[in-house]
């Protein structure tokens, strides 16, 4: 997986390998913290790290539209020395299962707002643990903005259109980390896509290179 990184010359082979390690450690810690915070959680697969260019959007759209009928999408931005976007894509979710995992009672009912809130809560927990894990290991400061629901149980085509319509357009290559996670006893996987802003790639490369040398 890191081959594609060095192969596309974003990073050297050593830097790419180190980044793979950094991300794996960050995910390991995230998984442990999430398991401690929420019961019945979670099952992170080995993340996939890729150098991508803007054309990936077309592929991603086609894949999501093919994979799902209806989806919900949460979007969250992180900014600072390490900056970028996180999208969490939820397939058909069992809100009862989510509520159990998050430990919220039913006092506030089961309307759309309550369901959106469950997605935001879970999405933010995943996004913030993953991003802060990477930022602390690379010693790049970052902050998360509040998450928002881009689409709620919308036809995949519309949801994806809204997500990519909102994102800034970039040229050249950037870094994307795909993480798939499961809730225990919950068949449907959720997908987390972290896209690093191209502007921070040079300082990320510097941090990686410093660690490779050191």
């Amino acid at each position: 997986m890191t081959d594609s990184l060095s192969g596309e010359s974003l990073f050297t082979e050593d830097e790419g390998d180190l980044l793979g390690e950094v991300v794996n450690i960050a995910m390991g810690r995230a998984g442990a913290a999430l398991a401690e915070a929420f019961s019945g959680f979670v099952n992170l697969r080995v993340p996939e790290i890729r150098a991508v260019n803007a054309s990936i959007i077309g592929e991603a759209r086609a894949r999501l539209e093919h994979a799902y009928d209806r989806i919900s999408i949460m979007h969250q931005e992180f900014f600072g020395e390490l900056a970028g976007h996180i999208a969490v894509i939820f397939g058909p979710a069992s809100y009862a299962a989510l509520r159990n995992v998050l430990g919220f009672d039913d006092r506030d009912g089961d309307g759309r707002r309550q369901r959106e809130e469950l997605l935001l809560e879970l999405g933010n927990a995943l996004a913030s643990t993953c991003v802060s894990g990477i930022s602390s290991q690379l010693e790049m400061r970052t902050g998360l903005r509040a998450p928002r629901v881009v689409a709620f149980d919308a036809p995949a085509r519309d949801a994806v259109q809204r997500l990519f319509g909102d994102l800034p357009v970039w040229s050249g290559k950037t870094l994307q980390i795909d993480i798939v996670f499961h809730l225990e006893e919950h068949d449907v996987p959720f997908e987390l896509v972290i896209t690093v802003s191209p502007e921070c790639l040079s300082s990320m490369k510097r941090e990686l290179s410093r660690r490779v040398m050191g």
Partner: protein, 322 residues
Amino acid sequence: MDAQQRVAFDYPSIVANLLTVGMVAVDRRFAIVVWNRFMELNSNIRSEEVLGKNLFEVFPELNRNWLEKKIKSCLVLKTPSFSSWRQRPYLFRFKASPVLAGEAEFMYQDVSIFPIHDESCTVQGACVVIHDMTELANAVRLLDQTQDRALDLEELNQRDSLTGIYNRKFFDEQITQGVLSSRRHNWPLSMAMIDIDHFKLINDTYGHPGGDMVLRHLAARLQSMLRASDTFCRYGGEEFALILPHVAQHDARSLLDRLRLAIENLVIDLPDGGQVSVTVSVGVAQLQEGQTSGHLVSCADEALYESKHAGRNRVSCYPIAK
């Protein structure tokens, strides 16, 4: 030498005096350790009254299960957590500024929660930050209302006020669109002009209220027999126009014959207690290659004239068989 060593600032007072943002810090047992000026002034509770007390005992109206769970997961994950006024209008029920509030009965709030740690970096509590979002919430509400009204107006603008069906203006737009897409996709398009026979006689006999009643009942009856994709309009006076996308002339004719028969069998109750029946004459035309919407309407008109000429209460098609 850093600033802290040079000047003996009262650092806690910086946060304590913060007026634009609410800050409440609690320790692991939810005892309040910071209660800033924003919180004091909005809650009317001074910090000395709440410091050291359990947050949920001072504010029993807080949703304890939710907030406790949220703060706890923030402590374990060591990452910030958020709540938006869009999903949860407020955390603390405060009065909104009367200037910003509009119709809001309370202050809309965004909430962010982040872990706070001691000098050895052990997480010891959480800080709850409250942002007043009333102005934005109000603006969004006004925007939604305006959009709804604009949609209502647009809808209203397309309707005939007497019968409630589409008006002439809408017909003109739709027939132009219909001709364009029929050409582009190469599907058939038919239309019909429908005119009430001897309508002047009805007005003369029963007065305008009687005439209006006939127009309303007839429009409702015809509309109920059409598909959602058909556009049925009051063209003017006692004349109606019908656009039939994806329908060739032969099928249009059968449909219009059914409509004509339905009107013939319709008994209309009048305001004065009497009853009346009417008939309609119909002209049908199908869009031909190279025709504009104007041509198409003229052809249907010509067929309608033929129906009138041949004795009324009938359907004629263009071109007229001589």
